[in-house]
């Protein structure tokens, strides 16, 4: 017999589950298990990364390029993310051949929303911070820092990423290319 779970404990367990999901995901990327990573996305997933502008403090609404209208760093569905994975697997994608060494640090995980209310939601909104370190060939090194806003959906008992917004804390991109995932 399971003891009834208090709402506080349910929230704690949910957060634990989500954190573990995000850490496992980072592990798949750093170990270059891209096909398994791609399988974490729902079929209708949206993966996008707006650009940021320098605007006056009172005009924050114009800071980000708009989803679905403006130019972004990424604006992808699962099919095109799959092409990116395919390109990494060709062995002749010179921007990642030899492969970069990449480390994803995921932190400050916050559950922003959970639907439906109760002990076992099927959709949760999650915000997290990332620090991505890339070192390639010899001394080439990049550090990218920012936030992610995810919508996770429980499908057949497992969490999947239905939507990911990536917020990079740079306006001019300080690295030559974005050949890796966030």
């Amino acid at each position: 017999m399971n003891a009834p779970v208090s709402p506080e404990l349910a929230r704690f367990l949910l957060k634990q589950e989500v954190e573990e999901f995000l850490y496992r995901e980072a592990e798949l990327l750093d170990e270059r298990r891209y096909e398994e990573w791609l399988a974490l996305f729902t079929e209708d997933a949206r993966y996008w990364m707006p650009m940021r502008r320098n605007v006056p403090a009172g005009e924050g609404g114009r800071e980000f390029t708009r989803e679905g209208t403006d130019v972004n760093w990424f604006d992808e569905g699962k099919a095109t993310l799959g092409r990116r994975v395919g390109q990494l697997r060709t062995g002749v994608h010179w921007a990642e051949e030899p492969p970069s060494r990449i480390c994803h640090m995921i932190a400050n995980v916050q559950i922003l929303s959970a639907q439906p209310a109760g002990p076992s939601p099927t959709e949760v909104g999650v915000k997290s911070r990332f620090l991505i370190y890339r070192n390639r060939v010899e001394t080439e090194t990049d550090v990218l820092v920012g936030k992610r806003e995810d919508l996770l959906r429980r499908v057949d008992g497992r969490w999947q990423i239905a939507r990911r917004k990536i917020i990079l804390d740079q306006s001019v991109l300080l690295t030559k290319n974005l050949t890796f995932f966030f």
Binding site: M49, M51, R53, N54, V55, P56, E59, R62, T65, R66, G68, T69, D70, V71, N72, W73, F74, D75, E76, T80, R83, R84, G86, Q87, T90, V92, H93, W94, A95, V137, E140, S171, V172, L173, L174, T175, K176, N177, L178, T179
Partner: protein
């Protein structure tokens, strides 16, 4: 001065011009302070008071539509102590105020505000002499905004010369109407560790580097599902490398046979495919024989690169020291295209180009490491080879009665040549050696 460094007749260019600090400083004076440079698009400054901060050479400039509706380009630096008067990327304003001592300037560049002016300066300060520094010449050509610091520079259309026909492939509407393009909101800006001439010469006409894009050909990101571009259209065409050696501009273009049917394109999206089919019909009706021509990448001397068709973009390679380039990439669409067409193109463009673009990613890797491996004491003793296709171009190209401007190398069989790159470096050398535009214009 450049003897032995740039010899385009023999196809030899020294690595020194890519890595030398001294030549770089001279470049800023003789190339970037004199040439016409692309600064933005009029659709970024639609209303009086709208501004967009751009760059010319290493310097920040403000592109602004003044109260009278005229587009102006100013050096973004206060006349008092040099602070940037605008550190926002774009927006709307009635004046630019320096945060250091508070001097303020109208959207026409006039010095309009000086704190404590009466007490601090008395009657001495002549405000009319201390407005923002303005470029010597500015031109709006079909929505694209160009500026030069040199009052002696030839008018923009003379600077463009016969290249106008090829730039129009980018700036005219898909259906052949004059102009009609706008930029999609947001400009990609990123840093590449290489000299600015690497990307400028690559876009001038480097078909040869297609091998470095093999990975994207294999996975296919073309708008018709397979390949990375619309190969059917290209496969039936003559492949031409067009250069204007006396101007420095160049473009890769394709010339369809006169009787060729319209090749289907954008087959990933039936509505978009239908839109382009209708546009192409219209274009052929409007442009006649010239509609046989369609454009690829090119470079307008020195550092602006149109990519005329798929995707349709404009890049500027801003110098940031001899070893670093800041790229700005704008994306263009027909202003009156249906929303679903714009959206399809937007997603395709950024999946292809820019730092996250499957195609352009590999370019940056090549330029990064080519530049780095050219800097060594030993490495820089050895020149680069630009001999490909020497002696195979003609200044009188004609096909089925259609004469095309420029000096043209037909590379349909050869696949590639370095004809365009030689034109680029020949003009670069002329500017670096000439003391003035008058000297350049002399026969």
């Amino acid at each position: 001065m450049l003897d032995g460094l740039v010899d385009v007749e023999r196809g030899i260019v020294s690595r020194e011009i890519f890595v030398s600090e001294e030549l770089y400083r001279q470049e800023l004076e003789r190339v970037f302070a004199r040439a016409w440079l692309f600064v933005g698009h009029e659709s970024q400054v639609r209303q009086p008071g709208d501004f967009f901060v751009s760059s010319m050479g290493e310097e920040s400039v403000i592109v602004c539509r003044d109260g009278a509706g005229r587009v102006r380009v100013f050096l973004n630096s206060c006349r008092h102590r040099g602070m940037k008067v605008c550190r926002y990327d774009e927006g709307h304003t009635v004046e630019f105020t320096c945060p250091y001592h508070g001097w303020s300037y109208g959207t026409d560049g006039a010095l309009v505000g000086v704190p404590f002016a009466k007490d601090a300066y008395g009657p001495r300060l002549d405000r009319t002499r201390w407005g923002l520094v303005e470029v010597a010449q500015m031109t709006n050509y079909k929505g694209a905004l160009w500026a030069t610091w040199d009052p002696e520079a030839p008018a923009f259309l003379d600077y463009l010369g016969g290249y106008k026909l090829y730039l129009d492939l980018l700036l005219d509407a898909w259906d052949g109407r004059e102009g009609g393009t706008e930029v999609i909101g947001g400009v990609h800006k990123w840093l590449i560790p290489c000299n600015w001439k690497f990307p400028a010469e690559n876009f001038s006409g480097d078909r040869y580097h297609n091998v470095s894009h093999r990975s994207v050909d294999l996975v296919g990101i073309g708008p018709s599902g397979k390949g990375r571009r619309d190969m059917q259209e290209r496969n039936q065409a003559r492949w031409l490398d067009v250069s204007f050696p006396d101007l420095g501009h160049s473009m890769i273009v394709f010339l369809r046979p006169p009787d060729a049917p319209i090749a289907p394109a954008y087959q990933d999206a039936p509505d978009v495919a239908e839109y382009f089919r209708r546009c192409e019909e219209e274009r052929q009706r409007r442009r006649g024989a010239q509609a046989r021509l369609f454009g690829g990448p090119g470079t307008i001397f020195p550092n602006t690169s149109p990519l005329a068709r798929q995707p349709r973009t404009l890049a500027v390679w801003h110098p940031r020291g001899p070893h670093q380039t800041e790229v700005w990439r704008w994306y263009l669409v027909d202003a009156d295209a249906p929303a679903e067409v714009k959206d399809f193109l937007r997603q395709y463009y950024i999946r292809y180009s820019g730092p996250a673009g499957l195609t352009e990613q590999d370019d940056m890797e090549n330029w990064n490491y080519a530049h780095g491996a050219s800097r060594g004491t030993i490495a820089r003793r050895y020149a680069y080879n630009y001999e490909m296709g020497l002696g195979r171009a003609t200044a009188r190209f004609e096909d089925h009665g259609l004469a095309l401007p420029g000096v043209i190398a037909d590379v349909t069989e050869a696949n590639a040549s370095e004809h365009n790159q030689r034109g680029f470096y020949g003009r670069w050398r002329q500017l670096m050696e000439a003391a003035s535009w008058k000297e350049l214009a002399a026969p």
